[in-house]
């Protein structure tokens, strides 16, 4: 763990653009090519930071093991992975929610409801708390397919605009929780590089307040 440089794990894909915008708002001078590059590791000349670009579900893993000191990760990914990291700031970006959805008027013929999901832990907790036993089917993408072709009775997945559900003739049954991106920190990095990390946390809190006011 190099004391003078911070490694920040960034989620590629959907959240990446929002995260970059927020970092710029927080005063970090990211290069213009930041969003388009195919490099996986990027160092800044202006600041003592190194960014690693990871698959969003892997960000908490990099941070828990200390391979990255900080990271930006969605609440969905954090809940599902249950990693031991500090969840320090709600960044208020990439907002969406987790929902149960399926075909309207669908009647299950299964003894237990079949639920397809990318989030087996979240889905299992949700149904257990409701006192309902279900069969979970783990998928990795295009979850909406499952109820349409009869692989599952319903899905548990994130919904942002609801457009995908609509276009595939699905409706939302239950809303599980609201989701946004969080700033996460490795517990040991926090102790060993407290000053540097505190500065970032404070900048991010300020920038977040900005986006909240701007968005409301």
């Amino acid at each position: 763990m190099n004391e003078s440089i911070l490694t920040i794990a960034m989620p590629k894909g959907r959240i990446f653009g929002d995260a970059c915008r927020l970092l710029r708002n927080a005063g970090f001078r990211l290069p213009e090519t930041f969003e388009t590059t195919r490099k996986l590791i990027l160092e800044l000349d202006s600041e003592p930071f190194r960014f690693i670009l990871a698959k969003p579900v892997d960000v908490p893993t990099y941070v828990e093991y200390g391979a990255a000191d900080l990271g930006i990760a969605g609440k969905d990914v954090l809940l599902e992975s249950g990693r031991d990291v500090y969840e320090m700031v709600d960044l208020g970006i990439s907002k969406c929610h987790m929902a149960v959805a399926g075909k309207p008027n669908h009647r299950s013929r299964n003894p237990f409801l079949k639920i397809a999901t990318k989030y087996p832990n979240i889905a299992s907790n949700f149904y257990r708390r409701r006192g309902e036993q279900v069969d979970l089917i783990a998928l990795n993408g295009s979850i909406e397919l499952a109820p349409i072709i009869g692989l599952a009775d319903a899905i548990v997945d994130i919904v942002s605009t609801g457009q995908t559900l609509k276009e595939n003739g699905l409706v939302e049954f239950d809303r599980l929780l609201d989701i946004s991106s969080r700033l996460i920190v490795n517990p040991v990095s926090y102790r060993l590089k407290k000053n540097l990390i505190d500065q970032i946390v404070e900048k991010m809190i300020k920038a977040t307040e900005g986006t909240k006011i701007g968005m409301d």
């Binding site: 200390g66 500090y86 969840e87 517990p187 102790r191 946390v201």
Partner: protein, 398 residues
């Protein structure tokens, strides 16, 4: 699972090969010497304990215990910690020893782990327990001792985070006046979920000032020690309350640690709440080197001995040797591994043995090896600092 391959071991278990074991032995020796110098006596306990006694009293979740039946069909566990067995001994065999007692151990502990690297199910821990002393001076002693061990191990950039579970509980109770809500707030701290904590506080609909104090409490993690203490002072409005006496203990501890010149390495952070639920007062974790996980942890557990029918205050810590090893740069064998070889034939066996014995007397590590037993003489010789042949040949190793 499928039939295991011959090289496989049960899930989460691993071998320690010579190179790592040398390093572990070196650390064990350093720790043993230092603990004895501080007047701590080493003890051993069995690896198996009854599930109903030590298993239940240890704060390790049930699904993480290795639990099975002994020959008399009694449920037993592989010990998941050493603090609980030591509490059992202090409450029984050592019942009549004068307090405070200072005990130390090095032992393998067993906790069933998830299927992932870096989390072994069996690991070695060295620790110390100071039993029978309720004062913050005892807390200072164990913290200083732990720091001293970590420093002596050669770990770089040793840091310590100190919290106080008693203060947290009492302060939260003052704010929300409900035990279940206190537990919920404390769980957010344990889960390191600041966002969840803030959201939960907002949902409580507390008086504005109380909610502000709770929000600030989380932010106090970012304060330096002096500001943290000032902040804590502002939370303590009445004297002669539990919060007040905990606050005084915290001030005393930080003062005493600065006498020891440890203050710069210590981060007072009241949001630190570790998983072991038997802690009642100060809690702390040690960090350093090059690892994402704490290498050591400890705290005060004043209620644990009561579970063995001997109420008694106590405080202690454990250092995980596996984590310490990964946090440290592996020493380039160097001083540890200077081995010398004596290679002989039948005619010269006597002379070679005498020579080897003499060298060993001098404190050297000598491998005595008959030439006919060596698979490849050239490769074999390369492992040694020097090689002496009987009968004499002129070459030596590097």
């Amino acid at each position: 699972m499928a039939q295991p391959y011959m090289f496989e071991k049960p899930l989460g278990l691993r071998d320690t090969l010579p190179r790592a074991q040398r390093e572990i032995s070196r650390l064990e020796l350093i720790f043993q010497r230092e603990l004895q110098r501080w007047g701590y006596d080493f003890i051993k306990t069995p690896a198996l304990e009854y599930a109903e006694t030590v298993g239940r009293a240890s704060a390790i979740a049930d699904h993480r215990l290795f639990k099975f039946l002994d020959a008399e069909s009694h449920p037993v566990v592989l010990r998941p910690d050493m603090t609980t067995p030591i509490a059992r001994i202090v409450a029984s065999s050592l019942r009549n020893e004068p307090l405070p007692l200072r005990l130390a151990y090095t032992a393998n502990l067993y906790r069933s782990q998830r299927k992932e690297g870096g989390h072994p199910s069996e690991f070695e821990q060295t620790g110390a327990e100071l039993i029978g002393d309720p004062t913050p001076y005892a807390d200072v002693e164990v913290i200083s001792l732990m720091m001293s061990l970590l420093e002596k191990s050669g770990l770089e950039a040793v840091r310590l985070a100190v919290g106080h579970v008693g203060f947290v509980n009492a302060f939260f109770y003052d704010m929300v006046k409900d035990k279940e809500t206190v537990m919920h707030l404390r769980n957010q701290l344990y889960n390191k979920n600041d966002v969840g904590f803030h959201d939960f506080v907002d949902d409580l609909e507390l008086p504005r000032e109380d909610a502000r104090k709770l929000h600030l409490f989380i932010d106090s993690r970012r304060m330096d020690n002096r500001d943290t203490i000032k902040f804590l002072e502002s939370l303590v409005t009445q004297s002669a309350t539990p919060v007040h006496s905990y606050y005084e203990n915290i001030v005393a501890l930080i003062d005493l640690l600065s006498v020891d010149h440890l203050e710069t390495q210590i981060d007072l952070d009241l949001t630190l709440v570790p998983h072991l639920s038997y802690y009642t007062g100060f809690v702390f974790q040690g960090f350093g080197g090059n690892l994402g996980f704490p290498v050591a942890s400890g705290g005060r557990y004043d209620d644990l001995l009561a579970k063995f029918n001997r109420p008694c205050p106590a405080t202690g810590f454990g250092i995980r040797l596996d984590r310490l090893m990964s946090a440290m740069k592996m020493s380039e064998d160097g001083h540890v591994n200077k081995k010398h070889a004596v290679i002989y034939d039948h005619m010269h066996a006597g002379a070679a043995m005498q020579f080897a014995a003499k060298e060993r007397e001098k404190g050297r590590t000598v491998v005595l090896q008959h030439a006919d037993g060596i698979e490849n003489p050239e490769v074999f010789a390369r492992q040694f600092e020097t090689v002496r042949y009987f009968p004499d040949r002129t070459e030596t190793g590097e």
